[in-house]
């Protein structure tokens, strides 16, 4: 068993976040009330997703520089776990919006750009599936991945802030951190981000291993046919 410590750390952190996320003390604010606990899930999931996608982009750049297929494997699986977290983030955000803004999908610039961002990455999956040749698929989807991340960051984090949005940190609202997160919440919030990032890495790692095993089996199969 190699490098098992971070998986144990991941499980411990996730359970810590779940238990303290629901039981720990939180500040009482108007409108949000107890739903502020969703910060541990919704906000942390989005931040973890952005980190995973950033890591995926770095591996894509690495692939283009070195040409090793293993880099592309890592990039694509990190992107997939990023997309998974993005969908979870949409769902938790939707649940939160139902109770605070009174609508599961209010017409908000940030929500719309989040949907566009998800579409960009779903298009990445479609692009990957439309190539047969491995090297070609790796190169072209790496190019698209870098491009996608460079478009994704402005539309999620910059453009909504220029307009009026219901989210904190947009259109003159202050960000969450400056007024409402107290130190009790920080104790859960920062570990939550780390925990989700580790979970995403774990998911990606398992899928990469499956991919490598399949590749080796295929090669063995071809070799045995030749002999």
């Amino acid at each position: 068993m190699r490098k098992i410590w971070w998986k144990i750390l991941c499980i411990v952190i996730i359970f810590y976040v779940i238990i303290f996320g629901f039981m720990g003390p939180v500040p009482h604010l108007a409108i949000v009330n107890e739903t502020i606990r969703n910060t541990y899930f919704h906000v942390a999931l989005w931040l973890a997703m952005t980190t995973l996608l950033l890591a995926a982009m770095i591996f894509s750049i690495n692939y283009l520089r070195t040409g090793l297929v293993s880099n592309d494997d890592i990039a694509s699986e990190l992107t997939k776990s990023g997309i998974f977290f993005g969908l979870l983030g949409c769902m938790t955000g939707s649940a939160w919006a139902t109770f605070t803004w009174g609508d599961p999908w209010p017409n908000d610039p940030k929500l719309n750009s989040a949907a566009v961002g998800m579409l960009i990455y779903l298009a990445y999956l479609l692009l990957r599936s439309s190539f047969e040749d491995e090297q070609r698929r790796a190169r072209i989807s790496s190019v698209y991945n870098i491009f996608a991340f460079a478009v994704f960051v402005p539309i999620i984090y910059i453009l909504p802030r220029l307009t009026d949005s219901l989210h904190p940190g947009s259109g003159g609202n202050s960000t969450f951190g400056s007024i409402d997160i107290d130190n009790d919440m920080r104790k859960v919030f920062y570990p939550a981000i780390i925990g989700y990032i580790l979970l995403g890495m774990w998911l990606a790692e398992l899928r990469i291993r499956v991919k490598v095993i399949n590749r080796v089996r295929e090669e063995n199969f071809i070799m045995s046919k030749k002999v």
């Binding site: 283009l64 750009s113 566009v116 961002g117 579409l119 960009i120 298009a123 479609l126 692009l127 439309s130 190539f131 090297q135 070609r136 190169r139 072209i140 790496s142 190019v143 698209y144 870098i146 491009f147 996608a148 460079a150 478009v151 402005p154 539309i155 453009l159 220029l162």
Partner: protein, 196 residues
């Protein structure tokens, strides 16, 4: 392509003929930009897939990939500029012209033409490598071009109402920034795409 623009505009004109009063400036503006979007996707989508394999190899041996992508972007920008100006002229001719500040609207058209061209050129390059490139072109380009389209529509709306230029500086700088990001990325990434 010119015929494509003109006939689309004419179809819109005939469809809105039933209820003349319904065409408010906002609808007018949005309709124009949607026509432009589809024109751009159709015009630029062909820029790589149209050329034969042999000719691509010839280009490959002739000059650097950077030169190719920059020249393609410039060429497509010019095409888009011409198409959208003629499209705008014809559109205003048949559907009326409610634009308050024509100069700003022209700036908006120019910015949009350059932006659409630069985004779609790289996407067309990516899509042309796949088999079913027409579908892929639409799927890949729409989400990426959407923020730019929204910004353009907002800027065009300001021009339509004849607001002061200082109101629109935000939109203009954002559009310029997006254009700059996209062109830099195309310049850096295209060599890898070109190799395959």
């Amino acid at each position: 392509m010119l015929l494509y623009v003109v006939s689309t505009v004419f179809v819109c004109y005939l469809s809105f003929n039933l209820r003349r009063g319904q065409l408010t400036p906002i609808v007018w503006n949005t309709l124009f930009w949607i026509i432009m979007l589809f024109t751009a996707v159709n015009a630029i989508g062909k820029s790589f897939s149209q050329e034969r394999f042999g000719r691509l190899i010839y280009y490959y041996s002739l000059c650097s990939p950077q030169a190719i992508i920059i020249s393609k972007i410039i060429y497509n920008s010019l095409i888009m500029m011409v198409l959208s100006l003629i499209g705008f002229g014809f559109y205003a001719f048949v559907l009326g012209n409610p634009v308050g500040d024509t100069n700003l609207y022209m700036v908006c058209i120019a910015l949009a033409a350059v932006g659409f061209a630069s985004v779609l050129t790289l996407i067309a390059g990516i899509a042309s490598k796949a088999d079913n490139s027409a579908t892929l072109m639409a799927v890949l380009s729409f989400p990426i071009i959407l923020p730019m389209l929204l910004m353009t529509i907002r800027l065009a709306k300001n021009a339509l109402d004849g607001l002061d230029w200082s109101v629109s500086t935000d939109e203009i700088t954002t559009l310029l920034a997006i254009d700059a990001i996209v062109i830099t990325l195309s310049y850096l990434l295209f060599p890898y795409l070109w190799k395959s």
